[in-house]
Structures are given as structure tokens and as C-alpha cells.
Amino acid sequence: METRVEVFLKKGINNSEAEGIKSDIQDLGIKKVREVITTQIYLIEGEISPSQKRLICENLLADHLIQEYHLNSKLKTQNSKLNPWIVEVWLKKGVTDTVAESAAKGIRDLGIKKVKNVKTGKKYLLFGSLSSKEIEIICQRLLVNKVIQNYFIK
């Protein structure tokens, strides 16, 4: 059984990573990007109860002061009309995922022993009228290193 957790910053908290990506996209000559949102994805493999899931999210993966999380659901946008491009980036099989290793250890340290494996990925929401060709350029030149990562665009 797989649990998918998405962690993202609360509204109003400055996301310097996303700001950096936005300005990097503009440096690529793609000026129409209006906003970037980033979220951290965790895929947790193993039999865990709903209360354990909440424990993991609230005590380990999300910092409740500045972050929110979603369990097993896709991140909803504030306004469905905005309709962002969504890019997910995952490490290829066999590439060491140190964040996942630490997360798995953290979960076990919480006393939840049935966790088999954790994987981490990154999700980018790109707002603005961007063509699919531009999205592809942003992925290849900025968000993804194909040597170690896979990606897909929605």
C-alpha cells in the first residue's frame, strides 16, 4: 500500500525556491510565467493506519508553522480557471535518495515499523500562458536532469 503526501508552504509564506525558479525561467527568455508553486512529494510504502499517517505528516514531514500537507490527493489550485501546468520530477531507480532515507528513518523512529520504503519527488505548478514547447524547455533546461531524474507533465 502506498501513501502519497504532498507538503507545500502556507499561503503568504515566502517561497524563495519558487521565486528563484521563476526568475530562472525568465532568464531562459520565457517571460510569461506568472507564478511558480513547488511542493515536496513523499511516497510511503507499507501498511500504515490513518492515525499513523496523520502522525507522520504532522510530526515529521510538514512544519505546521509554515507548511500544509495533503494526503493521497492532488494539490488543488486556488482557482481552477488558472489551470497551471504541473510537472513532477522523480529520481531514477538506483539513484540514492538521501531525503527519503532520512524520512524512512524518521518514520521508524516514530515507532511506525511497517514502513518498507519511501520515495521523494518534486512537483512544480507553473502559472501563465505557456506553450507545451516552452514547458518542455523549462523542464529540460531547468527543472530536470535527465541523467538522474524522470519527469512527466500534466
Binding site: 538506483g94 539513484v95 540514492t96 541523467v147
Partner: protein, 790 residues
């Protein structure tokens, strides 16, 4: 047999041998494959894949530096000579000749060691991690710094890391994507990734990054260079390694996975657009920090006899190195794995990070394991050192490797290489002096190699551990460029460690000999300018070259090495360790080979007796005198000024070691006596850039007169302003100390050229007595600060 295969090499023809080497990514040439074939013919059997991999790792350029040790037929100006071992005949030879009593361990351990106090020594090492950083900048840089930290942890019986230094060479940040060869990442991306990797790893390990440099050139687009260095403090009685037969082999730290397989052999190959994934490693600083602390406790409790890090080649090189004299037996299935399914050879050569190997006497094992388990660091016995002088590996009770240590470490066939050096001739410039020299100065200040690297430096923690005395950014607003940095590692001693570097690949395009001489001099000037001396100073060399199978590129390497000998001997400053990376070229889609410019990094470490005597480069008080020390010559070849006009020229800066040594000795005594308020080395961009930097770092104006500058065969303002002649310093001296200062410098070339002023005007009068540069110093500073953006 369990998952290990025999590879049929007995009776294989040359072409088949070459194919085997290529198919298994062994990077072994035909002569080496034939030597292996001969060995196994005597053994009357074929090698296993584990054995072939072990030999390939041990004999890789990365691990054994075979180019530097090969027999080279060298030709220069029609004169021929045979060099039997370049390293021994140049760099190591100068160290042996100088024979300094304070050199504790040179060219034998993971790092060089020099004496610091009666109780403590210093270890220093700089490594390169170029190929991995080209493919995955963040992970590559992280593992580069992680690796060199483990070199320091693994020197002698373990040193405590006290500082990092990081030097990078990238392609131009504003490169047009159309000019980017297929399969290469954009320089801007590599720049950001590498800096982030070094930042995250160094900061999380709690080691201050106190020194560095970043250079940009077209030649580094396909092959960026990433030099990572670490210095450590080690008790004087912990500097020798011993291994006894019967000792246990204990693996500590991270688990073994498939990551980083073939790193050692891979870095001995050129890159091309289809280079594969498997060599990529990812760093885990938290894991390394945990075992660093545990390790130092175990060292002080004397729980192990010796140790080394698992770098390139993984267990293969670590166990092979430690067991060279004794022999070793390893049970591969005992190694803790990240996941199942690894083949025996993969376990053996994996370069998974954050692992080290300890040599543990059996009676200390229990206590050692207890300590490591208390600190939550995995420690596992994987074998023991024997007296067999053989490397024996087992996987689930089946022997998968049985090699004689002698063959492994001495069996490499000597190679012969041809090298030739032909002087190059470039076009001499013919432009006349530009009208607006203030504008030129601003252009130089904002050229990427000179411009402020504050956006990078500020991301590094240079204060952690609380010992940083002279910081990388100095001055009234803490944003001027320091020549070197100083740490004071012992609470009860005023002694400090000074770290500096010298690098200028632009000169190497003209002549690698003078590039090496200039890099050596620049590193020393930086030490001296902050309060160091020539009495206790030492170098590390890091050669990064293109394709050394090309006789001309090898010729330039020989020439640079010869300069290292000449100038180390000339200055009386020994090399204590070094590293080379000799396959920095890229094959593009059309099969064209693109090499990096020959690049030599000289890192210098010095000791200052009392850190209170150290000085910084920023101007201190209005009304003080400004002196220039050393002669300004017509040496604009390879200068940043010529570069503005896309000209290289030929008149590369030279070094007169005798004169320079005399000047440095006098200056360092004057600084120690407190006669100098500020001192800055004069290098990239020449006199104008150096004085402007002093001025805006101190927030004080300056008035200089070029007619006073001691110069030879120079009659143009621009040439005097921007010549990059070596052996020059700028100093600020209080008027009342004028006589003492001039007496201290007597017998050297120096002159009073101006004064510091109240207010914000930086002003230079030219040879005709007219104002040739005049600017508000904050406007100069703005040009310098705003050129490199994150």
C-alpha cells in the same frame, strides 16, 4: 559459482582484449590487458569479473596517476630528454631537496601533513570532482566535498576538519543556448548546482568554507572544474598508519548501493554526449557528520589502529591500499547493502558515499562496536588483514578473487608517452590607448573573473566553529575581497592557519611554465599580504589538463611541472600533496575533441605566529601613504585588460624568484612589526583594480600618481594601470612610520605613489600629469558587485 563470472581472456586476441576492456568499462589499454592476460596465464585460469574490476580500479588514472608516473619522451626547442617519472622528477624532487623538518607526511597519505604546534599538526588536501559535477552538478559537488573531508578524516589516524576551500571553473554564465553542445548542461545551471552542493554539504557538516575562487572561460563549457579542499587538525602523535595481520576490517558509515559504480575508471575517460548514469553519486552530509564525531571519539580512545576512506574504487581501493603489505580477506556478503541484488563485483567497487574502513585490533572490537551503535552509526566487520600478501574475496563461501598484492600494486606495465612543447605565437595588439580609462576600469571590475563573488560566499558558512579570524569578505562593510583567510584552531594558542590560492589559466594559453610560476607566486603573495611568511608555508598542486594522450597537451603538462620544481625550490616552499585530473575533454556529436585550457591550481597553507598581527586589504585611515612594491613591466599577455578586447598577446607575466623572495621576506617582517595598515596583492586587472578594491573596501578615497610607479619599458597609462606583472603589492602606511617602513624594505624595488583621502573620490593622475581616472568609489564598487547574479 555465486554471481561472479569468469571472463575469458586466456588466448584472447588483441582485438578481443580491447573489446573486453570497453564492454566492462575498465578503461584499461591493450598493454595493460596483455599484462593481466600474462598474469592469469601463469595462474592457469581466467580472471573473475571481480578480479578484473579490482585491477581496473587500482590501475586507473584516477587512483595511480599513471601519466605522471609514466616514462615521457619530452621535446622542447629541438632538445630531447627522457623523464622517467614526472611527479618524482619535478614536484616531489623539490620537496625532497628542500627537506623541511616541519614536513611530517608528504605524498604518501590521503593528505599532506605539516607541523603546527608541539602537540598538533595540520593536514591539507584538495581534490577535483569534475566529471560527476558536469553530469549532476549538485550531487557531484556534494560528493566532491564529502570525499575530501573523508580524506582529512582518513589521514594518519584521523584529523578533525577545520576549514574548506572551494575553487570552480565554469563556462560563461550568459552563454547562448545555441552555442551549448548537445548533452551538456548550461554553465549557469552547473554554477548554481555546484555552489548549492558545496554550500549544503559544507554547512551541514559544520565546517567553515573560508577560501575559494570562481573563474569563467569558454573552455570550461563542456568540462567544468570543481576543486574541493579541506584542512584538518591532528594530534602530533596520531599521524602514522599501521596495519598488523590479524586486525579486523570494519566498514563504517553509509550502506553500499549501486551508485557511483565505475567512478574511478569513468573519471579516467573523456565525456561524451551519451555518458551513462551509473557513476552519479549523491551525498548525505548528515550521515558523514554523524560518523565524523564518532570517529574522532574512537580515535582518542585508541579503538582502532588505522583507517582510510572509501573514495574512488570503494572497498577495492580502501582495502587494497591498507592491505598492501599484509594481504586481506573480505567476505563481501557481510557488507551492509542499501538493497538486495548487487553482484559481488558491484559491492566491491561501488562508490556509494559516506563510507570508511577501519583497521581494528580484535580485542578492541567490542568497545568500538558499542560506541558506534550508541551513536547510531553502522559498523560491520567485513574481513581481516592476513599475512598472505594476497587479496582474497569471498561471496557466500565461494572465492571470487585471489590476487597477489604485488601484482595489483606493482604489476602495472610502465607506459611510454611522447610530449612536445612548441612555443605559441599570438597576434600582438595594435590598439591605441582608450580615451575613457574610468570606463575601462569599471568594465574590468565587472568582468566575471574579477567581480565580487559575494552572492556565492554569503551562502557558505565561514564562521561555524567560531575560529575564523580573517574572513573572505573584509572592510568597513564586510564586502571587500580578502587575499586569504585565517583560522585560529586552538583556544590556548595565538597561532593561526592562513589559506590562499593561485590560479590563472589565461596565462597557460600562452605558456604553462609561466602560468605555474604565476599561480605559485600569487598564492604566496596572498599569504604574505595577510601576515604570513615564507618560513612555514606549503603548497598543494592540482593539475587539470585536457587530453594528455595528445603530445602537445602532455608537453604543456611537463612544462608546468618543471615550473613547479623551479619555483618551489626558488621560494623554498615545498609541495606536500596534490592530485591530477587529466582527461578533461569532451567529444561532441561530430567527434571533435574539445579540451579545457590547461589549469593548475596552487593552494597554499601558511602559519602566522600571532593572529593579532594579521592585516586586511581595506584602507583604514585618510591621510595615510600608499606604496607600490615591485616593478611594473610590459606584461599584458593573457591579462584581463587584453581580454576585454578579445586579445591574448604574448607578453605573459614572469617571475624572478630570487627578487620576489627577498621582497616577500622584507614585507612579511614589516607587517609583523606593525608597519603596514593594509596590504593587497596586485594581480588580475593590475594596479588599477587592486587600488580600487582597497579603496571601496575601506570606504576611503585615494589619489595616485602613475609617474611615481616604478616601471620598465612602459610609456602608456593603460599599460601601467592594467599590466599584471607578478611580485607586486600595494600597502597603506601611516606617515609617522614612513622611515621605518622604507628602511625595512631597503634594497627592494618600491615607491610612494599616493595617499588615502577623506571622501569618496578615487583618482589617478597619468604620465602627463592629467587626471586619467576619477570616480566615486561607490560607483566603482557597484560595477564590481553587480556583475554576478544568483
Amino acid at each position: 559459482m555465486n554471481n561472479a563470472r569468469y571472463i575469458k581472456i586466456l588466448g584472447a586476441a588483441d582485438r578481443q582484449l580491447e573489446k573486453i576492456s570497453k564492454d566492462y568499462l575498465l578503461s584499461l589499454n591493450l598493454a595493460e590487458m596483455k599484462t593481466i592476460q600474462k598474469y592469469f596465464k601463469k595462474e592457469k585460469r581466467n580472471p573473475t569479473d571481480v578480479e578484473l574490476e579490482t585491477i581496473a580500479q587500482t590501475w586507473s588514472e584516477h587512483c595511480i596517476h599513471k601519466t605522471f608516473k609514466s616514462k615521457i619522451e619530452y621535446e622542447e626547442n629541438g632538445k630531447r630528454e627522457v623523464i622517467n617519472n614526472l611527479l618524482k622528477q619535478t614536484i616531489i624532487k623539490s620537496t625532497r631537496k628542500l627537506n623541511k623538518s616541519w614536513c611530517i607526511s608528504v605524498f604518501e597519505d590521503n593528505a599532506g601533513i605539516i607541523k603546527f604546534t608541539d602537540d598538533y599538526n595540520l593536514a591539507f588536501k584538495v581534490e577535483t570532482h569534475n566529471h560527476p559535477s558536469a553530469l549532476e552538478p549538485y550531487g557531484g559537488a556534494e560528493t566532491g566535498i564529502g570525499g575530501v573531508i573523508r580524506d582529512i578524516l582518513g589521514v594518519g589516524r584521523g584529523a578533525k576538519p577545520i576549514f574548506n576551500t572551494d575553487i570552480f571553473c565554469f563556462g560563461p554564465l550568459n552563454l547562448n543556448f545555441k552555442q551549448l553542445p548537445a548533452g551538456t548542461l548550461h554553465p549557469r545551471r552547473i554554477f548554481k548546482g555546484v555552489v548549492s552542493g558545496v554550500r549544503d554539504y559544507g554547512n551541514r557538516m559544520g565546517i567553515p568554507t573560508i577560501n575559494g575562487a570562481i573563474l569563467f572561460d569558454q573552455g570550461y563549457i563542456c568540462n567544468p572544474l570543481v576543486f574541493c579542499g579541506t584542512g584538518g587538525l591532528i594530534p602530533a602523535n596520531q599521524c602514522k598508519k599501521t596495519v598488523l595481520s590479524g586486525d579486523l576490517i570494519v566498514a563504517i558509515g553509509g550502506r553500499t548501493g549501486r551508485d557511483g559504480i565505475h567512478g574511478a575508471t569513468f573519471s579516467s575517460l573523456s565525456l561524451d554526449k551519451d555518458t551513462k548514469t551509473s557513476p552519479v553519486q549523491i551525498g548525505h552530509p548528515i550521515a558523514e557528520k554523524k560518523f565524523t564525531d564518532t570517529l574522532l571519539e574512537a580515535r582518542d580512545k585508541n579503538l582502532y589502529r588505522s583507517l582510510t576512506d572509501c573514495g574512488a574504487g570503494g572497498f577495492s581501493s580502501a582495502v587494497g591500499e591498507l592491505g598492501k603489505e599484509t594481504g586481506a580477506i573480505v567476505y563481501l556478503e557481510k557488507a551492509p547493502l542499501k538493497y538486495q541484488g548487487l553482484l559481488p563485483w558491484e559491492i566491491w567497487v561501488s562508490e556509494a558515499q559516506e563510507r570508511m574502513v577501519l583497521v581494528v585490533p580484535p580485542k578492541k572490537l567490542k568497545e568500538l562496536l558499542k560506541l558506534f551503535s550508541r551513536e547510531d552509526v553502522e559498523a560491520t566487520v567485513i574481513g581481516k588483514f592476513t599475512g598472505s600478501k594476497k587479496l582474497q574475496l569471498f561471496y557466500r563461501k565461494t572465492q571470487v578473487c585471489n590476487l597477489k598484492m604485488d601484482f595489483l600494486h606493482q604489476g602495472l606495465p610502465g607506459i611510454r608517452k611522447k610530449a612536445i612543447w612548441k612555443p605559441k605565437k599570438f597576434k600582438e595588439p595594435s590598439f591605441s590607448q582608450p580615451g575613457d580609462l574610468t570606463k575601462i576600469l569599471k568594465k574590468l571590475l565587472s568582468s566575471p573573473n574579477i567581480a565580487s563573488k559575494e552572492v556565492v560566499i554569503r551562502q557558505y558558512d565561514h564562521e561555524v566553529q567560531g575560529n575564523t579570524i580573517l574572513k573572505p569578505l573584509v572592510g568597513i562593510r564586510n564586502d571587500g575581497p580578502s587575499d586569504a583567510s585565517i583560522v585560529k584552531p586552538l583556544p590556548h594558542s595565538e597561532k593561526g592557519v592562513i589559506i590562499a590560492n593561485g590560479i590563472n589559466p589565461l596565462y597557460g594559453v600562452i605558456d604553462p611554465y609561466w602560468m605555474a610560476a604565476s599561480a605559485i607566486e600569487e598564492a604566496l603573495r596572498n599569504l604574505i599580504a595577510c601576515g604570513g611568511n615564507l618560513e612555514v608555508a606549503a603548497f598543494l598542486d592540482n593539475f587539470c589538463w585536457g587530453d594528455t594522450n595528445n603530445p602537445e597537451e602532455l608537453g604543456s603538462l611537463v612544462r608546468a611541472s618543471k615550473a613547479c620544481y623551479d619555483f618551489a625550490t626558488g621560494f623554498g616552499v615545498p609541495f606536500i600533496s596534490g592530485k591530477d585530473s587529466l582527461n578533461n575533454f569532451f567529444k561532441d556529436e561530430k567527434g571533435n575533441s574539445i579540451s579545457i585550457p590547461p589549469t593548475l591550481l596552487i593552494s597554499a597553507i601558511g602559519i602566522i605566529k600571532n593572529v593579532k598581527k594579521s592585516i586586511s586589504m581595506d584602507l583604514k585611515v585618510p591621510g595615510n601613504l600608499i606604496y607600490i612594491l615591485g616593478k611594473t613591466k610590459n606584461e599584458l599577455g593573457g591579462s584581463h585588460y587584453y581580454r576585454l578586447f578579445n586579445i591574448i598577446g604574448n607578453s605573459v607575466p614572469k617571475v624572478d624568484a630570487k627578487k620576489s623572495k627577498k621582497l616577500m621576506t622584507a614585507l612579511s617582517k614589516a607587517i609583523e612589526r606593525g608597519l603596514v595598515k593594509a596590504c593587497h596583492d596586485c594581480s588580475e586587472g593590475g594596479l588599477a583594480v587592486a587600488t580600487a578594491e582597497m579603496s571601496f573596501a575601506g570606504g576611503l578615497g585615494m589619489e595616485l600618481n602613475l609617474t611615481k610607479v616604478p616601471a620598465s619599458s612602459l610609456n602608456r597609462d593603460d599599460h601601467i594601470l592594467f599590466s599584471e606583472s607578478n611580485s607586486r603589492f600595494l600597502t597603506e602606511v601611516e606617515p609617522e612610520k614612513r622611515e621605518d617602513f622604507e628602511n625595512a624594505l631597503a634594497g627592494n624595488c618600491f615607491a610612494l605613489i599616493g595617499k588615502t583621502t577623506k571622501g569618496e573620490i578615487f583618482k589617478i593622475f597619468g604620465l602627463q600629469g592629467k587626471t586619467i581616472i576619477e570616480s566615486n568609489l561607490f560607483s566603482l564598487k557597484k560595477s564590481w558587485q553587480e556583475a554576478i547574479k544568483w
